[in-house]
């Protein structure tokens, strides 16, 4: 299915947010997630299904002012 991850369209096999993180190599990293502009807690990722056209954000700590 095609979804958008961090602003880029991509074809993915995963059907849940947790599976997507594993597929893209984010396991064990300090990241936070949102789907279609709504925050999804780490604990809820496995139960969060992904649908065609979803917009996923995966962010991690960065320098800031």
């Amino acid at each position: 299915m095609r979804i958008e991850v961090n602003g880029e369209e991509r074809e993915i096999a995963a059907s849940t947010l947790a599976a997507l993180l594993a597929e893209l190599g984010y396991v064990e990293l300090p990241v936070a997630t949102a789907v279609n502009l709504a925050f999804v807690r780490g604990a809820d990722r496995a139960a969060t299904p992904l649908r065609e056209g979803d917009k996923v954000e995966i962010v991690s700590p960065k320098q800031g002012g």
Partner: protein
């Protein structure tokens, strides 16, 4: 003299808050935090490619500094973006503190007061401690306090401009209007003298980033800002003399030789 600053229940001995962005290297960032004496540093969240360890290593550097983190919502253009970013930050950084930024104008990075108040209201009802980045507008300040903000962070000048205080009257009026609210000048300062000046006005603390990270020697500048903030605070407490237009001799006039 005990002059600790209490921010959201946290006792701090330093009144300087430091940003972590745009330093020449992670080592210089770590050393600058130490040299500044800052006990709170700002951080952000950004998109990162899968497999990258950059975020993880930055986060461990910040944790090793021992400073408390204040995550920002920099770059958010709507209340909804800011609220979601704050919630993501709370999970990653394990803090309910957030420096709330909602950008209203791209050229000046001027805060959008409407989005700011809307986002602050949502976040406070969700348990956040909100540090709103705002202009020096008195009415916006009032609205932010109405929705439950306990700290306000007016700008001195646009982010990264290094101009110093653009509206001295506005900052003085804000301080006078809200004598019991924690007020932190955030953004636009360029030199330690700017920081000392706002502390002399009675501001509770100062938050800055570029003035240190973009300096020729960030570590030395971090220390200079730490000293300036402390000097300004001491000066405020010492109650500066009132300026006057004409001279008044400091040496006693009585007993002057060759006098009348």
């Amino acid at each position: 003299m005990d002059d600790a600053l209490t921010l959201q229940g946290e006792r701090l001995s330093s009144r300087l808050l430091l940003g972590t962005a745009r330093y020449p290297s992670p080592a210089i960032l770590a050393e600058s935090i130490r040299a500044s004496g800052a006990e709170i540093v700002t951080v952000s969240l950004r998109r990162e490619a899968g497999g990258s360890k950059a975020g993880e290593s930055f986060w461990s550097l910040v944790r090793e500094s021992g400073a408390k983190v204040l995550p920002n919502t920099a770059g958010c253009r709507t209340a909804q973006e800011a609220v979601t970013t704050a919630r993501m930050a709370r999970e990653v950084f394990e803090t309910d503190w957030v420096k709330l930024e909602v950008v209203g104008d791209e050229d000046l990075l001027q805060p959008d007061p409407f989005g700011l108040v809307e986002a602050a209201k949502i976040l406070i009802s969700d348990g956040f401690r909100v540090f709103p980045y705002m202009t020096e507008d008195l009415v916006v300040a009032e609205r932010l306090l109405d929705v439950g903000c306990q700290v306000l962070m007016p700008w001195a000048a646009p982010i990264g401009s290094g101009r110093g205080v653009n509206n001295l009257f506005g900052l003085r009026a804000l301080r006078a209007r809200f004598p019991n609210v924690r007020l932190i000048v955030d953004a636009g300062l360029g030199a330690p003298s700017h920081a000392a000046a706002v502390m002399e006005l009675g501001y509770d603390a100062v938050l800055l980033n570029s003035a240190v990270s973009r300096a020729g020697d960030p570590v030395a500048m971090a220390r200079a800002f730490g000293l300036a903030v402390e000097a300004g605070r001491l000066a405020h407490r010492a109650k500066p003399m009132t300026p006057r237009d004409f001279a008044e001799p400091s040496t006693p006039v009585l007993g002057r030789p060759f006098g009348e």
